[in-house]
């Protein structure tokens, strides 16, 4: 296991560098940010001065070299927009997204396992049909639409929840998490249901029933753990999506997360922040992938055995 982990971590280093380099070059393709940061009436001289101060007058390879040298000293640069250190901004924003994604996935997975198992228990029953239809619909609602509706209905009309924001009790979490939740939940219910139906019709389930096992024992003791592999994979992918893409929710509800930071820094050509943010999410995503692999190994002894090979 440890060998496996070490190998995985080492093999993630090269792709990580690729991501950083890719972002570096792509960002610079979007043009010089000078215009955005100087008043429209700034003179050519002022522009040149600003460019030189920020190092944008150098060739791209030279800029890259400077960036890498600084990065090696854990200095990821300063934000053009706010003048703060990029590292600081990213470290401020990241926990917000991580918490959102964590709570969302926790709820999505537990809810989906519950509903999906119940649905799989009696395929084609009313419960199954309702659960399937609802989950499919949930998975296909545009999230920003759901968010705006949520604000209007629960925030304003019913006056149950705050419209937006991060400050306050647990109630501020409800709408953002609900918005983030619908799609992963919808997808996961279908995945859980699918793999549970397959697991419940497997011969070992018949044998378990032949031993007189109760339904609870059959579902949770036997079927669920076998059904968990595809669920884990999909849940991993969905979490990656959340880490990278809670932009909409963060934008609408005013949560200062990494997604919002990223889109802002893209639109504002704030390269240092963008690079730092991408590096942070990329590291997280790599870690997440490794975590999923470890979970696979933990739940399935066959994978565990195959690992050292």
């Amino acid at each position: 296991m440890i060998i496996f982990l070490r190998k995985r971590i080492l093999s993630s280093a090269v792709p990580l560098v690729c991501v950083v380099l890719g972002v570096f070059f792509l960002a610079r393709m979007t043009g010089n940010p000078v215009d955005l940061y100087l008043p429209l009436s700034a003179t050519a001289e002022q522009r040149a001065e600003f460019s030189a101060a920020q190092g944008f007058d150098l060739s791209v390879p030279a800029q890259l070299w400077n960036y890498l040298v600084d990065a090696a000293h854990l200095d990821f640069g300063t934000s053009l927009r706010t003048g703060q250190s990029a590292t600081e901004m990213v470290l401020d924003a990241f926990p917000v997204t991580l918490q959102l994604a964590g709570v969302t996935m926790l709820l999505a997975i537990s809810g989906a396992v519950l509903i999906g198992s119940l649905a799989a228990y009696r395929p084609n029953s009313l419960m199954d049909r309702v659960a399937s239809l609802l989950s499919m619909t949930a998975a296909s609602i545009p999230d920003f639409w759901f968010a705006v509706m949520g604000v209007l209905v629960f925030g304003v009309s019913l006056d149950l929840l705050p419209t937006s924001g991060t400050l306050g009790g647990p109630e501020v979490w409800v709408l953002p998490v609900a918005t983030l939740l619908i799609r992963p939940f919808g997808v996961l219910v279908q995945v859980v249901r699918g793999s549970m139906v397959a697991a419940l019709s497997a011969p070992y389930v018949k044998i378990a029933r032949a031993k007189g096992a109760t339904p609870r024992r059959v579902i949770f003791g036997h079927a669920l753990r076998n059904a968990v592999t595809p669920v884990l994979t999909v849940a991993g992918d969905l979490t990656v999506g959340l880490v990278n893409g809670a932009v909409i929710v963060e934008t609408i509800f005013g949560w200062p997360g990494i997604g919002k930071l990223m889109i802002d820094s893209i639109l504002q050509r704030d390269f240092a922040v963008l690079q730092a943010a991408v590096l942070m999410t990329a590291v997280t995503i790599f870690a997440l992938n490794i975590l999923v692999d470890v979970c696979h190994a933990l739940t399935d002894p066959r994978v565990r055995q195959a690992v050292p090979a």
Binding site: T30, G31, P33, D35, L36, Y37, L38, P39, L40, S41, A42, T43, E45, Q46, E49, F50, A53, R81, T82, G83, Q84, M89, D92, A93, V96, L114, L118, M127, V148, V151, L152, F154, G155, V156, D159, L160, L161, P162, T163, S164, G165, T166, L167, G168, G169, P170, E171, V172, V174, T251, I252, F253, G254, W255, P256, L267, Q268, R269
Partner: protein, 530 residues
């Protein structure tokens, strides 16, 4: 004897249903329980009548006073945290004393300012001419690359000296008749402020001081008790930000904020909103260097094709005024005589036909560039303009851009090899003088202009050297000239902002509200509430 084992024993079935029902009920209860538990105060805090809660579109990138000409920064900083020497009345355009009690022009290039006494900074230090000199130096002459430097002063450096505690002398390199107006953009900070680097949280002489900045969440201000002027009504203020206009509107409806900026025109009918002219003017800038836009008949046809009233009523919520010039009312140089061009499709088509007959390639594709988020309904407006231009026989494609991309089209050096461009621009004349407009947009080599005429250039230069009524008339006349002989712009509308105001407060927005929202002017609706 036959029976079916698949019909479920009734007990089992019922229990199963009961389980489902319990689960469902539990979920609902849990959800509503969470909801009720804290009920809904939101970021801006509970309405306590003592905190003024303002919701902006975005978090201010910084509160550095020398960046106050950035809208996002200025709206919080200006006149709330820091103050300039001179302030401009947004309605009349007149200059009023603020930290300076008066000023005099000694000669062409030298001005003296008298400092107000008894003013202290929020850190307790007294305000003197030394501080004023420091602040001007820091903003205009330093290497900080302050936004205000580029915005109002260009390359020019100022020589500033504090002759005594109460007297300041400013010397310009060139004669500058509007120096006091320019200085109204320089916010005064204490001389202890870092001169080599920008600060994120400033100290000023304003009625409010920064209490805390929760990054990403809120900025809290508290009343500065030793403020030299009248004490504002609200002891505390809190800024939050939401980029979605419907959420900002919802926060007003819900009572989560007292003031919300930049609402969508859709909300205009609510009685919690108030519209105000914001000195922004929209227009299509036609690139006169490229066929077919190089033909004045085609440019005039475009001007005639635009249905200003239709666009304003349908897309801008009826909040804007049709425009015939770039300079809005209330700004020196605005010409009352100019009428917006009425739509005349027939005449426009005739002009195009005429041009086509003379060999102008009117079917060459024109790119209509507009910026996402420039104003509410911008992409619909672009589509409407495209449709109206196509109706008179032009070939137009829309390209929506982000700010950075749009700036490449807007600013010199203009992009090459992109064909004829019709750029949707929105020009805000914060400064109140047409010179800020003409030197940028009308000079043939102006930073935001594509072409012009020598005649117009000459008139602009002449007008800039004048002052008083002569200045007004010279600028007003040259605006007519642009419409007659240049037609670089098909003007669209003088825009309005829409502010959401809670019924619990009273506030009169003015044309500067978008850049400078004076919290001290906000009062509770019912007297004696606080």
């Amino acid at each position: 004897m036959k029976f079916s084992v698949s019909s479920t024993p009734p007990t089992g079935r019922r229990r199963y249903r009961a389980t489902t029902a319990t689960l469902l009920a539990g979920t609902v209860l849990l959800a509503s329980g969470c909801a009720v538990a804290g009920s809904a105060a939101g970021d801006a805090g509970r309405a306590d009548g003592r905190t003024l809660r303002v919701v902006l579109t975005q978090e201010p990138p910084t509160l550095e006073p020398c960046e106050a000409s950035l809208t996002g920064t200025g709206v919080v900083v200006r006149s709330n945290i820091t103050e300039p020497l001179v302030e401009r009345d947004p309605d009349s355009g007149e200059l009023h004393p603020l930290l300076a009690t008066g000023w005099k022009q000694r000669d062409d290039r030298t001005w003296t300012f008298d400092m107000r006494e008894g003013v202290t900074f929020q850190n307790g230090e007294p305000f003197t001419a030394e501080d004023a000199a420091f602040s001007i130096d820091r903003a205009v002459n330093s290497d900080l690359a302050c936004n205000v430097e580029g915005y109002v002063f260009g390359d020019e450096d100022l020589k500033v000296t504090a002759e005594s505690d109460t007297r300041l002398t400013v010397t310009t390199e060139q004669p500058d008749p509007i120096l006091p107006l320019r200085l109204s953009f320089v916010e005064i900070v204490p001389r202890t402020t870092n001169a080599d680097a920008k600060v994120r949280i400033p100290v000023g002489t304003g009625p409010y001081a920064v209490a805390s900045w929760q990054p990403g969440a809120a900025i809290n201000l508290s009343r500065y008790d030793d403020y030299w002027g009248d004490a504002p009504d609200f002891p505390r203020a809190r800024y939050v930000w939401r980029s979605d206009a419907s959420v900002r509107a919802a926060m007003i409806d819900k009572g989560e904020a007292e003031i919300a900026v930049a609402l969508d025109p859709v909300e205009a009918e609510k009685d919690t909103t108030v519209a105000f002219p914001n000195n922004e003017t929209t227009a299509l800038r036609l690139d006169g260097r490229e066929a077919p836009l190089d033909d004045i008949r085609v440019r005039r046809a475009v001007d005639l094709a635009v249905d200003r009233d239709g666009i304003i009523d349908a897309l801008l919520g009826g909040l804007a005024e049709p425009a015939g010039q770039l300079v809005p009312p209330g700004v020196v140089g605005h010409n009352e005589e100019i009428e917006p061009t009425p739509q005349n499709v027939k005449e426009a088509t005739a002009l195009i036909d005429e041009a086509e007959a003379d060999g102008v390639p009117v079917d060459r594709q024109i790119t209509l560039v507009a910026r996402n988020g420039m104003f509410a309904g911008v992409s619909e407006t672009a589509e409407a303009l495209q449709y109206q231009m196509q109706k008179i026989g032009l070939n137009v494609k829309v390209r929506m851009a982000d700010t950075a991309t749009q700036l490449q089209y807007q600013l010199r050096p203009l992009p090459e090899d992109v064909g004829p461009i019709a750029l949707l621009i929105m020009h805000g004349n914060q400064a109140g003088d047409a010179a800020f407009t003409t030197s940028q947009y009308l000079l043939s080599d102006g930073p935001q202009s594509t072409f012009g005429t020598e005649e117009l250039d000459r008139r602009i230069a002449d007008a800039g050297a004048l002052s008083g009524d002569q200045r007004q008339k010279a600028f007003a006349d040259l605006l007519v000239d642009q419409n007659r002989s240049v037609v670089q712009y098909a003007h669209l509308a003088h825009m309005s902002g829409l502010l959401g105001l809670s019924p619990s407060i009273r506030y009169e927005p003015n044309s500067a509200t978008g850049d400078e929202m004076r919290l001290a002017e906000v009062s509770p609706a019912k007297a004696g509430q606080h």
